[in-house]
Symmetry: C2
Protein backbone atom coordinates (compact mmCIF):
# COMPACT_ATOMS: atom_id res chain seq x y z
CA UNK A 1 0.00 0.00 0.00
CA UNK A 2 1.45 3.38 -1.06
CA UNK A 3 1.10 5.33 2.16
CA UNK A 4 3.39 7.76 3.91
CA UNK A 5 3.68 9.12 7.42
CA UNK A 6 3.45 12.74 6.33
CA UNK A 7 3.70 14.18 9.83
CA UNK A 8 4.11 13.11 13.44
CA UNK A 9 4.12 14.55 16.94
CA UNK A 10 4.04 13.69 20.60
CA UNK A 11 3.21 14.95 24.06
CA UNK A 12 5.44 14.09 26.99
CA UNK A 13 4.07 15.21 30.38
CA UNK A 14 6.50 17.47 32.29
CA UNK A 15 6.33 15.69 35.64
CA UNK A 16 9.03 13.04 36.07
CA UNK A 17 8.67 10.26 38.63
CA UNK A 18 12.01 8.63 39.39
CA UNK A 19 12.71 5.01 40.35
CA UNK A 20 13.56 6.42 43.80
CA UNK A 21 10.06 7.91 44.12
CA UNK A 22 8.29 4.78 42.82
CA UNK A 23 10.41 2.58 45.11
CA UNK A 24 8.69 4.06 48.18
CA UNK A 25 5.23 3.22 46.82
CA UNK A 26 6.02 -0.43 46.04
CA UNK A 27 8.38 -1.24 48.90
CA UNK A 28 11.30 -2.22 46.64
CA UNK A 29 14.67 -0.57 46.02
CA UNK A 30 15.35 1.70 43.02
CA UNK A 31 17.93 -0.89 41.89
CA UNK A 32 15.27 -3.62 41.94
CA UNK A 33 13.04 -1.45 39.68
CA UNK A 34 15.80 -0.63 37.22
CA UNK A 35 17.18 -4.17 36.97
CA UNK A 36 13.69 -5.71 36.63
CA UNK A 37 12.10 -3.23 34.22
CA UNK A 38 14.82 -0.91 32.91
CA UNK A 39 12.64 2.10 33.76
CA UNK A 40 14.63 4.88 35.48
CA UNK A 41 12.06 7.63 34.94
CA UNK A 42 8.45 7.73 33.82
CA UNK A 43 6.22 10.71 33.18
CA UNK A 44 3.02 11.38 35.13
CA UNK A 45 0.29 13.38 33.46
CA UNK A 46 -1.98 15.76 35.32
CA UNK A 47 -4.25 16.16 32.30
CA UNK A 48 -6.51 13.43 30.95
CA UNK A 49 -5.98 11.23 27.87
CA UNK A 50 -8.10 13.39 25.54
CA UNK A 51 -6.11 16.55 26.30
CA UNK A 52 -2.80 14.61 26.11
CA UNK A 53 -3.83 13.14 22.76
CA UNK A 54 -4.94 16.52 21.44
CA UNK A 55 -1.54 18.06 22.34
CA UNK A 56 0.26 15.27 20.45
CA UNK A 57 -2.14 15.76 17.53
CA UNK A 58 -1.54 19.53 17.49
CA UNK A 59 2.20 18.83 17.32
CA UNK A 60 1.58 16.57 14.30
CA UNK A 61 -0.87 19.03 12.68
CA UNK A 62 1.15 22.21 13.16
CA UNK A 63 2.37 22.62 9.56
CA UNK A 64 -0.45 20.92 7.71
CA UNK A 65 -4.15 21.06 6.87
CA UNK A 66 -6.91 19.26 8.79
CA UNK A 67 -7.43 15.49 8.54
CA UNK A 68 -10.57 13.97 7.02
CA UNK A 69 -10.65 11.17 9.64
CA UNK A 70 -9.50 10.88 13.26
CA UNK A 71 -8.75 7.48 14.78
CA UNK A 72 -8.10 7.20 18.49
CA UNK A 73 -5.83 4.19 19.01
CA UNK A 74 -5.36 3.99 22.75
CA UNK A 75 -5.28 1.25 25.36
CA UNK A 76 -7.59 2.68 28.01
CA UNK A 77 -10.39 5.17 27.27
CA UNK A 78 -11.31 8.42 29.02
CA UNK A 79 -14.78 7.01 29.66
CA UNK A 80 -16.85 4.08 28.39
CA UNK A 81 -19.16 6.19 26.18
CA UNK A 82 -18.53 8.10 23.95
CA UNK A 83 -15.26 6.65 22.67
CA UNK A 84 -12.18 8.85 23.26
CA UNK A 85 -11.84 10.00 19.63
CA UNK A 86 -14.83 12.29 20.19
CA UNK A 87 -13.13 14.09 23.09
CA UNK A 88 -9.83 14.42 21.20
CA UNK A 89 -11.70 15.83 18.19
CA UNK A 90 -13.49 18.30 20.50
CA UNK A 91 -10.17 19.47 21.99
CA UNK A 92 -8.86 20.00 18.45
CA UNK A 93 -11.91 22.06 17.47
CA UNK A 94 -12.55 19.79 14.48
CA UNK A 95 -16.28 19.14 14.88
CA UNK A 96 -17.70 17.42 11.81
CA UNK A 97 -14.63 15.26 11.12
CA UNK A 98 -15.56 11.56 11.46
CA UNK A 99 -13.95 10.04 14.54
CA UNK A 100 -13.81 6.57 16.02
CA UNK A 101 -11.55 4.31 18.10
CA UNK A 102 -9.54 1.18 17.44
CA UNK A 103 -8.54 -0.93 20.43
CA UNK A 104 -6.01 -3.72 20.77
CA UNK A 105 -4.26 -2.39 23.89
CA UNK A 106 -0.50 -1.91 23.28
CA UNK A 107 -0.99 -2.75 19.59
CA UNK A 108 -3.78 -0.21 19.06
CA UNK A 109 -1.42 2.05 17.11
CA UNK A 110 -0.24 -0.70 14.74
CA UNK A 111 -3.81 -1.88 14.19
CA UNK A 112 -4.98 1.67 13.46
CA UNK A 113 -1.96 2.29 11.23
CA UNK A 114 -2.83 -0.75 9.12
CA UNK A 115 -6.55 0.04 9.09
CA UNK A 116 -5.94 3.68 8.14
CA UNK A 117 -3.54 2.59 5.38
CA UNK A 118 -6.28 0.37 3.91
CA UNK A 119 -8.84 3.18 4.13
CA UNK A 120 -6.48 5.45 2.17
CA UNK A 121 -5.42 2.72 -0.29
CA UNK A 122 -9.08 2.01 -1.08
CA UNK A 123 -9.67 5.78 -1.55
CA UNK A 124 -12.09 6.21 1.35
CA UNK A 125 -10.06 8.98 3.03
CA UNK A 126 -7.07 11.13 2.05
CA UNK A 127 -5.54 12.26 5.31
CA UNK A 128 -5.94 10.31 8.53
CA UNK A 129 -4.86 11.43 11.98
CA UNK A 130 -4.06 8.58 14.38
CA UNK A 131 -3.70 9.44 18.07
CA UNK A 132 -2.46 7.11 20.81
CA UNK A 133 -2.76 8.46 24.33
CA UNK A 134 -2.39 6.49 27.53
CA UNK A 135 -2.28 7.43 31.16
CA UNK A 136 -1.19 4.12 32.66
CA UNK A 137 -0.26 5.83 35.93
CA UNK A 138 -3.98 5.94 36.85
CA UNK A 139 -4.22 2.14 36.70
CA UNK A 140 -1.07 1.22 38.62
CA UNK A 141 -1.49 -1.40 41.31
CA UNK A 142 1.23 -0.68 43.85
CA UNK A 143 0.78 -4.17 45.28
CA UNK A 144 2.09 -5.51 41.96
CA UNK A 145 5.58 -3.94 41.98
CA UNK A 146 6.77 -4.97 38.52
CA UNK A 147 3.86 -3.66 36.43
CA UNK A 148 3.50 -0.61 38.71
CA UNK A 149 7.09 0.40 38.02
CA UNK A 150 6.79 -0.21 34.27
CA UNK A 151 3.91 2.11 33.38
CA UNK A 152 4.31 5.73 32.27
CA UNK A 153 2.11 8.37 30.59
CA UNK A 154 2.51 9.77 27.07
CA UNK A 155 0.71 10.49 23.82
CA UNK A 156 1.81 10.45 20.19
CA UNK A 157 0.18 11.07 16.82
CA UNK A 158 0.90 10.51 13.15
CA UNK A 159 -0.76 11.63 9.94
CA UNK A 160 -1.04 9.22 7.03
CA UNK A 161 -1.50 10.24 3.40
CA UNK A 162 -1.24 8.65 -0.05
CA UNK A 163 2.31 8.49 -1.37
CA UNK A 164 4.38 7.71 -4.43
CA UNK A 165 7.60 6.56 -2.75
CA UNK A 166 6.65 5.50 0.77
CA UNK A 167 5.00 2.15 1.40
CA UNK A 168 3.43 -0.18 3.90
CA UNK A 169 5.32 -3.23 2.58
CA UNK A 170 3.80 -5.79 4.91
CA UNK A 171 1.56 -6.23 7.92
CA UNK A 172 0.88 -9.30 10.01
CA UNK A 173 -1.09 -9.75 13.21
CA UNK A 174 -1.85 -12.84 15.30
CA UNK A 175 -3.96 -13.13 18.46
CA UNK A 176 -3.30 -16.05 20.82
CA UNK A 177 -6.20 -15.99 23.23
CA UNK A 178 -4.74 -18.69 25.49
CA UNK A 179 -2.84 -15.64 26.80
CA UNK A 180 -6.01 -13.57 27.36
CA UNK A 181 -5.53 -13.58 31.13
CA UNK A 182 -1.82 -12.67 31.15
CA UNK A 183 -2.47 -8.91 30.94
CA UNK A 184 -5.72 -7.45 32.24
CA UNK A 185 -7.72 -4.60 33.64
CA UNK A 186 -10.79 -6.62 34.59
CA UNK A 187 -13.02 -3.67 35.49
CA UNK A 188 -14.54 -0.93 33.37
CA UNK A 189 -16.98 -3.10 31.42
CA UNK A 190 -19.85 -5.53 31.87
CA UNK A 191 -17.79 -8.28 33.56
CA UNK A 192 -16.68 -6.58 36.75
CA UNK A 193 -19.22 -3.78 36.85
CA UNK A 194 -19.39 -1.95 40.21
CA UNK A 195 -22.88 -3.49 40.72
CA UNK A 196 -21.39 -6.99 40.59
CA UNK A 197 -20.80 -8.23 44.17
CA UNK A 198 -17.71 -10.11 42.92
CA UNK A 199 -16.02 -6.86 41.84
CA UNK A 200 -13.01 -5.97 43.99
CA UNK A 201 -10.77 -2.87 44.09
CA UNK A 202 -7.93 -4.63 42.26
CA UNK A 203 -10.19 -5.13 39.23
CA UNK A 204 -9.72 -1.44 38.40
CA UNK A 205 -5.95 -1.75 38.17
CA UNK A 206 -3.56 -3.15 35.62
CA UNK A 207 -2.33 -6.68 36.29
CA UNK A 208 0.25 -8.60 34.31
CA UNK A 209 1.97 -11.93 34.57
CA UNK A 210 5.30 -10.68 33.18
CA UNK A 211 7.04 -14.09 32.99
CA UNK A 212 4.06 -15.69 31.16
CA UNK A 213 3.87 -12.82 28.69
CA UNK A 214 7.61 -12.87 28.06
CA UNK A 215 7.75 -16.64 27.60
CA UNK A 216 4.88 -16.68 25.10
CA UNK A 217 5.77 -13.42 23.36
CA UNK A 218 9.44 -14.21 22.77
CA UNK A 219 8.59 -17.31 20.75
CA UNK A 220 5.66 -15.78 18.83
CA UNK A 221 7.60 -12.61 17.98
CA UNK A 222 10.64 -14.61 16.87
CA UNK A 223 8.58 -16.70 14.44
CA UNK A 224 6.72 -13.63 13.16
CA UNK A 225 10.00 -11.87 12.33
CA UNK A 226 11.30 -14.95 10.47
CA UNK A 227 8.07 -15.37 8.49
CA UNK A 228 7.69 -11.66 7.71
CA UNK A 229 11.25 -11.23 6.47
CA UNK A 230 10.97 -14.39 4.34
CA UNK A 231 7.59 -13.39 2.86
CA UNK A 232 9.11 -10.05 1.80
CA UNK A 233 12.41 -11.52 0.53
CA UNK A 234 14.32 -9.52 3.11
CA UNK A 235 17.07 -10.35 5.57
CA UNK A 236 17.84 -8.73 8.92
CA UNK A 237 20.46 -6.58 7.16
CA UNK A 238 17.80 -5.00 4.95
CA UNK A 239 16.04 -3.51 7.98
CA UNK A 240 17.43 -0.04 8.67
CA UNK A 241 15.70 0.47 11.99
CA UNK A 242 13.42 -1.36 14.43
CA UNK A 243 10.70 0.40 16.45
CA UNK A 244 9.52 -2.14 19.05
CA UNK A 245 6.78 -1.70 21.60
CA UNK A 246 8.50 -0.60 24.80
CA UNK A 247 7.14 -3.48 26.90
CA UNK A 248 10.17 -3.78 29.19
CA UNK A 249 13.93 -3.54 28.81
CA UNK A 250 14.22 -7.34 28.66
CA UNK A 251 11.56 -7.48 25.93
CA UNK A 252 13.31 -4.78 23.86
CA UNK A 253 16.74 -6.38 24.29
CA UNK A 254 15.33 -9.68 23.02
CA UNK A 255 15.18 -8.11 19.52
CA UNK A 256 18.99 -7.99 19.48
CA UNK A 257 19.71 -10.94 21.79
CA UNK A 258 17.42 -13.41 20.01
CA UNK A 259 16.17 -11.49 16.96
CA UNK A 260 19.62 -10.77 15.57
CA UNK A 261 19.17 -7.00 15.09
CA UNK A 262 22.19 -4.87 16.12
CA UNK A 263 21.55 -2.99 19.38
CA UNK A 264 21.95 0.43 17.74
CA UNK A 265 19.22 -0.31 15.22
CA UNK A 266 16.59 -1.01 17.91
CA UNK A 267 14.86 2.06 19.41
CA UNK A 268 14.95 1.87 23.19
CA UNK A 269 13.42 4.70 25.23
CA UNK A 270 12.20 2.55 28.14
CA UNK A 271 14.67 4.05 30.67
CA UNK A 272 13.24 7.56 30.22
CA UNK A 273 9.53 6.90 29.64
CA UNK A 274 8.62 3.36 30.74
CA UNK A 275 5.89 1.36 29.05
CA UNK A 276 3.39 3.90 27.71
CA UNK A 277 0.89 1.23 26.54
CA UNK A 278 -0.48 2.22 23.09
CA UNK A 279 1.66 5.38 22.94
CA UNK A 280 4.98 3.49 23.18
CA UNK A 281 5.33 2.60 19.50
CA UNK A 282 4.29 5.98 18.00
CA UNK A 283 6.30 7.87 20.66
CA UNK A 284 9.42 5.82 19.88
CA UNK A 285 8.74 6.39 16.16
CA UNK A 286 8.20 10.15 16.55
CA UNK A 287 11.36 10.57 18.66
CA UNK A 288 13.38 8.42 16.22
CA UNK A 289 12.25 10.61 13.30
CA UNK A 290 13.05 13.83 15.22
CA UNK A 291 16.49 12.46 16.14
CA UNK A 292 17.03 11.56 12.45
CA UNK A 293 17.49 7.89 13.26
CA UNK A 294 14.95 7.22 10.49
CA UNK A 295 15.21 8.95 7.11
CA UNK A 296 13.03 8.91 3.97
CA UNK A 297 13.62 5.71 2.04
CA UNK A 298 14.62 3.67 5.11
CA UNK A 299 13.10 0.23 5.67
CA UNK A 300 11.62 0.25 9.18
CA UNK A 301 10.18 -2.63 11.19
CA UNK A 302 7.40 -1.69 13.61
CA UNK A 303 6.72 -4.59 15.96
CA UNK A 304 5.13 -5.37 19.28
CA UNK A 305 2.92 -7.39 21.52
CA UNK A 306 -0.31 -6.50 23.28
CA UNK A 307 -2.81 -7.94 25.72
CA UNK A 308 -4.60 -10.83 24.04
CA UNK A 309 -1.88 -12.00 23.66
CA UNK A 310 -1.49 -10.38 20.25
CA UNK A 311 1.63 -9.96 18.14
CA UNK A 312 1.85 -7.61 15.16
CA UNK A 313 4.52 -6.30 12.84
CA UNK A 314 4.66 -3.97 9.90
CA UNK A 315 7.51 -3.31 7.50
CA UNK A 316 7.34 0.18 6.06
CA UNK A 317 9.43 2.05 3.53
CA UNK A 318 9.52 5.39 5.31
Amino acid sequence: MNIKISSHGHYIPKKIETAEEVSKKINKSPDWIISRTGVKNRRISNIDVDKMGALAAKDALKNTSNPDLIINASGVPKQTIPDTSVFIQKELGLSGVPSFSVHSTCLSFLTAFHTASSLIESKQYKKILIVSSDRGSIGRNFNEPESASLLGDAAAAVILEPSINSQVMSYKMETWSEGAEFTQVKGGGTYRHPDNPKTIDNDHYFTMSGPNVYKMARKKVYFMIQKTLKANNLTINDIDFVIPHQASNTAIQAYSKFGGFPDDKVMNIIADYGNCVSASIPLALSIAIKERKIKRGNIVLLIGTGAGLSVASSIIKF
Copy 2:
Protein backbone atom coordinates in the same frame (compact mmCIF):
# COMPACT_ATOMS: atom_id res chain seq x y z
CA MET B 1 -15.89 -1.44 -3.04
CA ASN B 2 -16.92 -4.91 -4.24
CA ILE B 3 -17.83 -6.55 -0.96
CA LYS B 4 -20.64 -8.86 0.03
CA ILE B 5 -22.26 -9.91 3.27
CA SER B 6 -21.70 -13.61 2.69
CA SER B 7 -23.26 -14.73 5.96
CA HIS B 8 -24.97 -13.34 9.04
CA GLY B 9 -26.30 -14.45 12.40
CA HIS B 10 -27.58 -13.25 15.73
CA TYR B 11 -28.12 -14.19 19.35
CA ILE B 12 -31.27 -13.11 21.13
CA PRO B 13 -31.30 -13.88 24.87
CA LYS B 14 -34.29 -16.00 25.94
CA LYS B 15 -35.35 -13.93 28.93
CA ILE B 16 -37.98 -11.30 28.08
CA GLU B 17 -38.55 -8.30 30.33
CA THR B 18 -41.91 -6.67 29.63
CA ALA B 19 -42.86 -2.99 29.92
CA GLU B 20 -44.95 -4.12 32.92
CA GLU B 21 -41.84 -5.49 34.66
CA VAL B 22 -39.67 -2.46 33.84
CA SER B 23 -42.44 -0.10 34.96
CA LYS B 24 -42.03 -1.27 38.56
CA LYS B 25 -38.29 -0.48 38.51
CA ILE B 26 -38.67 3.05 37.18
CA ASN B 27 -41.92 4.07 38.86
CA LYS B 28 -43.76 4.79 35.59
CA SER B 29 -46.67 3.04 33.92
CA PRO B 30 -46.23 0.50 31.10
CA ASP B 31 -48.16 2.93 28.86
CA TRP B 32 -45.67 5.69 29.66
CA ILE B 33 -42.82 3.38 28.60
CA ILE B 34 -44.47 2.28 25.37
CA SER B 35 -45.59 5.76 24.32
CA ARG B 36 -42.20 7.32 25.15
CA THR B 37 -39.85 4.67 23.74
CA GLY B 38 -41.92 2.19 21.73
CA VAL B 39 -40.28 -0.70 23.60
CA LYS B 40 -42.82 -3.34 24.69
CA ASN B 41 -40.30 -6.09 25.41
CA ARG B 42 -36.53 -6.20 25.73
CA ARG B 43 -34.25 -9.21 26.24
CA ILE B 44 -32.02 -9.63 29.30
CA SER B 45 -28.90 -11.72 28.96
CA ASN B 46 -27.54 -13.88 31.76
CA ILE B 47 -24.30 -14.51 29.85
CA ASP B 48 -21.65 -11.87 29.20
CA VAL B 49 -20.97 -9.96 25.97
CA ASP B 50 -18.16 -12.27 24.78
CA LYS B 51 -20.36 -15.39 25.03
CA MET B 52 -23.31 -13.55 23.45
CA GLY B 53 -21.08 -12.37 20.60
CA ALA B 54 -19.62 -15.84 20.11
CA LEU B 55 -23.14 -17.34 19.82
CA ALA B 56 -24.05 -14.78 17.14
CA ALA B 57 -20.74 -15.49 15.39
CA LYS B 58 -21.37 -19.26 15.49
CA ASP B 59 -24.75 -18.65 13.86
CA ALA B 60 -23.00 -16.67 11.09
CA LEU B 61 -20.16 -19.21 10.74
CA LYS B 62 -22.28 -22.39 10.71
CA ASN B 63 -22.07 -23.12 6.98
CA THR B 64 -18.74 -21.56 6.16
CA SER B 65 -14.99 -21.71 6.78
CA ASN B 66 -13.12 -19.68 9.41
CA PRO B 67 -12.48 -15.95 9.04
CA ASP B 68 -8.97 -14.50 8.68
CA LEU B 69 -9.83 -11.49 10.87
CA ILE B 70 -12.25 -10.90 13.75
CA ILE B 71 -13.46 -7.38 14.57
CA ASN B 72 -15.44 -6.77 17.72
CA ALA B 73 -17.67 -3.77 17.08
CA SER B 74 -19.50 -3.25 20.35
CA GLY B 75 -20.51 -0.28 22.47
CA VAL B 76 -19.39 -1.43 25.92
CA PRO B 77 -16.55 -3.92 26.51
CA LYS B 78 -16.41 -6.97 28.75
CA GLN B 79 -13.41 -5.45 30.51
CA THR B 80 -10.96 -2.61 29.85
CA ILE B 81 -8.04 -4.88 28.87
CA PRO B 82 -7.81 -6.99 26.73
CA ASP B 83 -10.34 -5.71 24.20
CA THR B 84 -13.45 -7.91 23.81
CA SER B 85 -12.44 -9.39 20.43
CA VAL B 86 -9.92 -11.57 22.28
CA PHE B 87 -12.62 -13.13 24.47
CA ILE B 88 -14.97 -13.69 21.53
CA GLN B 89 -12.15 -15.33 19.57
CA LYS B 90 -11.38 -17.53 22.60
CA GLU B 91 -15.03 -18.63 22.84
CA LEU B 92 -14.93 -19.50 19.13
CA GLY B 93 -11.76 -21.59 19.54
CA LEU B 94 -10.03 -19.58 16.82
CA SER B 95 -6.71 -18.86 18.53
CA GLY B 96 -4.22 -17.39 16.08
CA VAL B 97 -6.77 -15.37 14.09
CA PRO B 98 -5.97 -11.63 14.42
CA SER B 99 -8.59 -9.86 16.52
CA PHE B 100 -9.20 -6.27 17.51
CA SER B 101 -12.04 -3.87 18.39
CA VAL B 102 -13.59 -0.86 16.74
CA HIS B 103 -15.60 1.50 18.94
CA SER B 104 -18.02 4.26 18.05
CA THR B 105 -20.86 3.20 20.41
CA CYS B 106 -24.11 2.59 18.48
CA LEU B 107 -22.27 3.11 15.18
CA SER B 108 -19.53 0.56 15.95
CA PHE B 109 -21.04 -1.90 13.48
CA LEU B 110 -21.20 0.60 10.61
CA THR B 111 -17.65 1.80 11.32
CA ALA B 112 -16.35 -1.77 11.41
CA PHE B 113 -18.33 -2.66 8.28
CA HIS B 114 -16.68 0.19 6.38
CA THR B 115 -13.24 -0.53 7.81
CA ALA B 116 -13.51 -4.25 7.04
CA SER B 117 -14.69 -3.48 3.50
CA SER B 118 -11.56 -1.35 2.96
CA LEU B 119 -9.31 -4.07 4.38
CA ILE B 120 -10.82 -6.54 1.90
CA GLU B 121 -10.83 -4.07 -1.02
CA SER B 122 -7.12 -3.37 -0.45
CA LYS B 123 -6.47 -7.15 -0.32
CA GLN B 124 -5.33 -7.28 3.31
CA TYR B 125 -7.88 -9.93 4.35
CA LYS B 126 -10.30 -12.21 2.52
CA LYS B 127 -12.96 -13.04 5.06
CA ILE B 128 -13.77 -10.82 8.00
CA LEU B 129 -16.08 -11.63 10.90
CA ILE B 130 -17.68 -8.58 12.55
CA VAL B 131 -19.39 -9.11 15.90
CA SER B 132 -21.53 -6.58 17.75
CA SER B 133 -22.59 -7.59 21.23
CA ASP B 134 -24.09 -5.34 23.88
CA ARG B 135 -25.58 -5.95 27.27
CA GLY B 136 -27.07 -2.56 27.93
CA SER B 137 -29.19 -3.98 30.77
CA ILE B 138 -26.08 -3.93 33.01
CA GLY B 139 -25.73 -0.16 32.63
CA ARG B 140 -29.35 0.86 33.12
CA ASN B 141 -29.94 3.73 35.53
CA PHE B 142 -33.44 3.20 36.92
CA ASN B 143 -33.48 6.82 38.09
CA GLU B 144 -33.43 7.82 34.41
CA PRO B 145 -36.70 6.19 33.26
CA GLU B 146 -36.50 6.88 29.54
CA SER B 147 -33.04 5.45 28.82
CA ALA B 148 -33.60 2.62 31.33
CA SER B 149 -36.69 1.48 29.45
CA LEU B 150 -35.01 1.77 26.04
CA LEU B 151 -32.05 -0.58 26.52
CA GLY B 152 -32.06 -4.30 25.68
CA ASP B 153 -29.44 -7.03 25.18
CA ALA B 154 -28.51 -8.74 21.90
CA ALA B 155 -25.64 -9.73 19.66
CA ALA B 156 -25.31 -10.04 15.89
CA ALA B 157 -22.56 -10.93 13.45
CA VAL B 158 -21.83 -10.71 9.74
CA ILE B 159 -19.14 -12.10 7.49
CA LEU B 160 -17.73 -9.95 4.69
CA GLU B 161 -15.98 -11.29 1.61
CA PRO B 162 -14.89 -10.02 -1.81
CA SER B 163 -17.69 -10.04 -4.37
CA ILE B 164 -18.46 -9.57 -8.03
CA ASN B 165 -22.06 -8.33 -7.79
CA SER B 166 -22.47 -6.95 -4.28
CA GLN B 167 -21.12 -3.53 -3.40
CA VAL B 168 -20.56 -0.96 -0.71
CA MET B 169 -21.76 1.92 -2.91
CA SER B 170 -21.17 4.70 -0.43
CA TYR B 171 -20.20 5.44 3.14
CA LYS B 172 -20.30 8.71 5.04
CA MET B 173 -19.66 9.50 8.70
CA GLU B 174 -19.69 12.77 10.62
CA THR B 175 -18.90 13.38 14.31
CA TRP B 176 -20.34 16.49 15.96
CA SER B 177 -18.55 16.72 19.29
CA GLU B 178 -20.70 19.58 20.57
CA GLY B 179 -23.01 16.64 21.35
CA ALA B 180 -20.31 14.68 23.25
CA GLU B 181 -22.17 15.01 26.53
CA PHE B 182 -25.64 14.05 25.25
CA THR B 183 -25.02 10.29 25.65
CA GLN B 184 -22.53 9.01 28.19
CA VAL B 185 -21.25 6.34 30.50
CA LYS B 186 -18.71 8.49 32.33
CA GLY B 187 -17.02 5.70 34.27
CA GLY B 188 -14.87 2.79 33.11
CA GLY B 189 -11.83 4.81 32.05
CA THR B 190 -9.30 7.33 33.31
CA TYR B 191 -11.81 10.18 33.85
CA ARG B 192 -14.06 8.76 36.53
CA HIS B 193 -11.79 6.02 37.83
CA PRO B 194 -12.91 4.52 41.17
CA ASP B 195 -9.85 6.15 42.81
CA ASN B 196 -11.12 9.59 41.80
CA PRO B 197 -13.00 11.14 44.77
CA LYS B 198 -15.36 12.83 42.29
CA THR B 199 -16.58 9.48 40.95
CA ILE B 200 -20.18 8.73 41.90
CA ASP B 201 -22.36 5.63 41.44
CA ASN B 202 -24.27 7.16 38.52
CA ASP B 203 -21.02 7.42 36.51
CA HIS B 204 -21.23 3.65 35.92
CA TYR B 205 -24.63 3.89 34.26
CA PHE B 206 -25.87 5.00 30.89
CA THR B 207 -27.18 8.54 30.73
CA MET B 208 -28.81 10.24 27.76
CA SER B 209 -30.44 13.55 27.05
CA GLY B 210 -33.05 12.14 24.66
CA PRO B 211 -34.52 15.49 23.52
CA ASN B 212 -31.05 16.97 22.80
CA VAL B 213 -29.99 13.87 20.85
CA TYR B 214 -33.21 13.79 18.86
CA LYS B 215 -33.11 17.51 18.05
CA MET B 216 -29.51 17.38 16.79
CA ALA B 217 -29.74 13.96 15.17
CA ARG B 218 -32.91 14.61 13.17
CA LYS B 219 -31.32 17.54 11.35
CA LYS B 220 -27.92 15.89 10.80
CA VAL B 221 -29.46 12.63 9.59
CA TYR B 222 -31.82 14.46 7.24
CA PHE B 223 -28.96 16.36 5.57
CA MET B 224 -26.82 13.22 5.36
CA ILE B 225 -29.59 11.33 3.55
CA GLN B 226 -30.05 14.20 1.07
CA LYS B 227 -26.29 14.49 0.41
CA THR B 228 -25.71 10.74 0.16
CA LEU B 229 -28.58 10.15 -2.27
CA LYS B 230 -27.47 13.09 -4.41
CA ALA B 231 -23.80 12.02 -4.43
CA ASN B 232 -24.89 8.57 -5.67
CA ASN B 233 -27.43 9.87 -8.21
CA LEU B 234 -30.19 8.06 -6.35
CA THR B 235 -33.65 9.07 -5.19
CA ILE B 236 -35.64 7.74 -2.25
CA ASN B 237 -37.46 5.41 -4.66
CA ASP B 238 -34.18 3.68 -5.56
CA ILE B 239 -33.71 2.51 -1.96
CA ASP B 240 -35.31 -0.93 -1.54
CA PHE B 241 -34.97 -1.09 2.22
CA VAL B 242 -33.72 0.98 5.16
CA ILE B 243 -31.99 -0.53 8.21
CA PRO B 244 -31.83 2.24 10.80
CA HIS B 245 -30.23 2.10 14.22
CA GLN B 246 -33.04 1.27 16.65
CA ALA B 247 -32.51 4.34 18.82
CA SER B 248 -36.18 4.80 19.79
CA ASN B 249 -39.53 4.46 18.05
CA THR B 250 -39.66 8.23 17.46
CA ALA B 251 -36.18 8.17 15.91
CA ILE B 252 -37.08 5.25 13.60
CA GLN B 253 -40.39 6.82 12.56
CA ALA B 254 -38.55 10.01 11.62
CA TYR B 255 -37.15 8.13 8.60
CA SER B 256 -40.65 7.94 7.16
CA LYS B 257 -42.13 11.09 8.74
CA PHE B 258 -39.31 13.43 7.73
CA GLY B 259 -37.02 11.27 5.57
CA GLY B 260 -39.71 10.34 3.05
CA PHE B 261 -39.20 6.56 3.11
CA PRO B 262 -42.42 4.49 3.12
CA ASP B 263 -43.08 2.91 6.54
CA ASP B 264 -42.91 -0.63 5.18
CA LYS B 265 -39.41 -0.08 3.81
CA VAL B 266 -37.98 0.90 7.22
CA MET B 267 -36.99 -1.98 9.52
CA ASN B 268 -38.48 -1.46 12.96
CA ILE B 269 -37.86 -4.06 15.69
CA ILE B 270 -37.79 -1.64 18.63
CA ALA B 271 -41.04 -2.96 20.18
CA ASP B 272 -39.59 -6.45 20.61
CA TYR B 273 -35.94 -5.80 21.40
CA GLY B 274 -35.44 -2.16 22.43
CA ASN B 275 -32.24 -0.25 21.71
CA CYS B 276 -29.47 -2.86 21.64
CA VAL B 277 -26.68 -0.27 21.25
CA SER B 278 -24.13 -1.54 18.67
CA ALA B 279 -26.11 -4.74 18.02
CA SER B 280 -29.26 -2.89 16.84
CA ILE B 281 -28.19 -2.34 13.21
CA PRO B 282 -26.72 -5.82 12.53
CA LEU B 283 -29.60 -7.51 14.41
CA ALA B 284 -32.17 -5.60 12.33
CA LEU B 285 -30.16 -6.50 9.21
CA SER B 286 -29.87 -10.18 10.12
CA ILE B 287 -33.59 -10.47 10.91
CA ALA B 288 -34.52 -8.59 7.71
CA ILE B 289 -32.42 -11.01 5.63
CA LYS B 290 -33.94 -14.06 7.41
CA GLU B 291 -37.44 -12.68 6.85
CA ARG B 292 -36.55 -12.11 3.16
CA LYS B 293 -37.20 -8.40 3.40
CA ILE B 294 -33.81 -7.95 1.74
CA LYS B 295 -32.82 -9.96 -1.34
CA ARG B 296 -29.62 -10.17 -3.39
CA GLY B 297 -29.38 -7.18 -5.68
CA ASN B 298 -31.43 -4.87 -3.42
CA ILE B 299 -30.17 -1.38 -2.65
CA VAL B 300 -30.12 -1.06 1.14
CA LEU B 301 -29.49 2.02 3.26
CA LEU B 302 -27.83 1.35 6.64
CA ILE B 303 -28.03 4.46 8.78
CA GLY B 304 -27.77 5.57 12.37
CA THR B 305 -26.52 7.84 15.09
CA GLY B 306 -24.22 7.17 17.98
CA ALA B 307 -22.77 8.86 21.04
CA GLY B 308 -20.44 11.61 19.87
CA LEU B 309 -22.79 12.70 18.42
CA SER B 310 -21.92 10.77 15.28
CA VAL B 311 -24.02 10.10 12.21
CA ALA B 312 -23.15 7.48 9.60
CA SER B 313 -24.79 5.93 6.58
CA SER B 314 -23.87 3.34 4.02
CA ILE B 315 -25.62 2.41 0.81
CA ILE B 316 -25.00 -1.20 -0.14
CA LYS B 317 -26.00 -3.31 -3.10
CA PHE B 318 -26.81 -6.50 -1.18
